[in-house]
């Protein structure tokens, strides 16, 4: 195991990095009946701040009303009190409490706020190599993923199958592909 001090500086370059909302993807995947149902949020906001000492913090947010799925009626249900309750809790937020790297691997502990409930979550993924884009801006890419139990956030909707099992799983995978641009 590498130490945090020796690896942070190597893969998380110092600076303030803002999310490029055009190319980033922040979404979720959840087992529904016979497959995996996916949705995303667009646009989202995120900022990664890395100090000269390698200490890093990641924050992000999305508006519930910006949930994207393929059917407008389903969006309407997702925004209703059965799911995100966008009227009462319009914002979803994430704030890291600890960011660790081990080579290209990154682990982000943080607090996720959904439907007014804030719960700890751990996301893991990879940090890509820093590049300069064709327009002269510095970029890095980070993938992150993790799982939450949606019922921890008060999202309890379900529909029983004839077998008695539930149509919708409680476990939800979070998937983020973050394009970050240096300020």
């Amino acid at each position: 195991m590498s130490t945090i001090e020796s690896t942070n500086a190597a893969v998380l370059p110092a600076g303030t990095w803002q999310l490029d909302p055009v190319h980033s993807q922040v979404g979720f995947a959840v087992k529904y009946m016979v497959g995996t149902f996916r949705g995303s949020f667009s646009p989202v906001e995120a900022t990664l701040v890395v100090g000269a000492d390698g200490e890093a913090g990641l924050t992000g947010s999305a508006r519930a009303e910006n949930v994207k799925v393929q059917e407008p009626s389903l969006v309407a249900h997702l925004l209703a009190p059965d799911f995100f309750d966008a009227e009462r809790t319009p914002e979803l937020r994430f704030r890291s409490t600890d960011v660790r790297t081990d080579g290209a691997r990154v682990t982000v502990d943080g607090e996720l706020e959904v439907k007014g409930a804030t719960r700890p979550v751990t996301l893991t993924g990879e940090v890509g190599e820093q590049i300069t884009d064709p327009f002269g801006r510095e970029r890095i890419g980070i993938t992150l993923g993790g799982t939450i139990d949606r019922t921890d956030f008060g999202i309890n909707w379900n529909n029983p199958l004839p077998s008695g099992k539930s149509a919708l799983a409680n476990e939800v995978a979070l998937e983020a592909e973050l394009y970050l641009v240096k300020e």
């Binding site: 009626s73 925004l79 059965d82 009227e87 809790t89 319009p90 914002e91």
Partner: protein, 186 residues
């Protein structure tokens, strides 16, 4: 605060309509309850007729819902589910889906039956339908079984346990209205 009472039964001596009148006797302070009586007039849902202006009975139902701070439904149970006419009226009310009058509206469901089970399956079905329409469904149920023995000729609810359930549901419903009015974190 205005609560609209909607009974799933059309019958003049309906136990569910009687249960709504009982509810009107046990309201939290500052709350009034009007029982809607237009259910019989709602035509069968037909997307070809779901145009502007809506059929008068539909427009009246939508206006009654839009003018209420919350809705208390009392439903009987037909064949283990919701009465067709009530479901039909909700199908009208729930359209257009994204902007319908039930969206975010606090609602609670109670039920009465002459049998022992107090329409529990119909209540569960009704909560599911209201949730799908986007309503703010308050937890808690009122199960009035053997209803014909439990509301007297003056409309007084004789069963103390059910009366307590009713008071609690009404309090929770009023609480949901207050919570909706409270400022929301940005």
């Amino acid at each position: 605060m205005k609560i609209l009472g909607v009974s799933g039964s059309l019958r003049a001596d309906s136990h569910n309509t009687a249960l709504l009148r009982c509810a009107a006797r046990h309201l939290p302070e500052g709350v009034e309850l009007d029982v809607w009586d237009g259910l019989r007039d709602v035509p069968p849902y037909d997307e070809d007729h779901d145009i502007d202006p809506a059929p008068p009975a539909v427009a009246a139902f939508r206006a009654a819902l839009a003018g209420a701070d919350a809705v208390l439904f009392s439903t009987p149970e037909y064949n283990s589910s919701i009465p067709g006419q009530l479901k039909n009226a909700l199908d009208w009310a729930s359209r257009p889906h994204a902007t319908n009058v039930l969206r975010n509206l606090p609602v609670a469901v109670v039920g009465a039956s002459t049998g022992a089970f107090g329409a529990v399956w119909a209540q569960a079905e009704l909560r599911k339908v209201l949730g799908a329409a986007g309503a703010r469904v308050v937890d808690g149920e009122v199960i009035l079984g053997h209803a014909h023995h439990k509301i007297d000729e003056h409309g007084v609810l004789l069963d103390e346990e059910v009366r307590d359930q009713l008071v609690e549901v009404l309090s929770d419903l009023a609480g949901a209205v207050e919570a909706r009015r409270a400022p929301v974190a940005a």
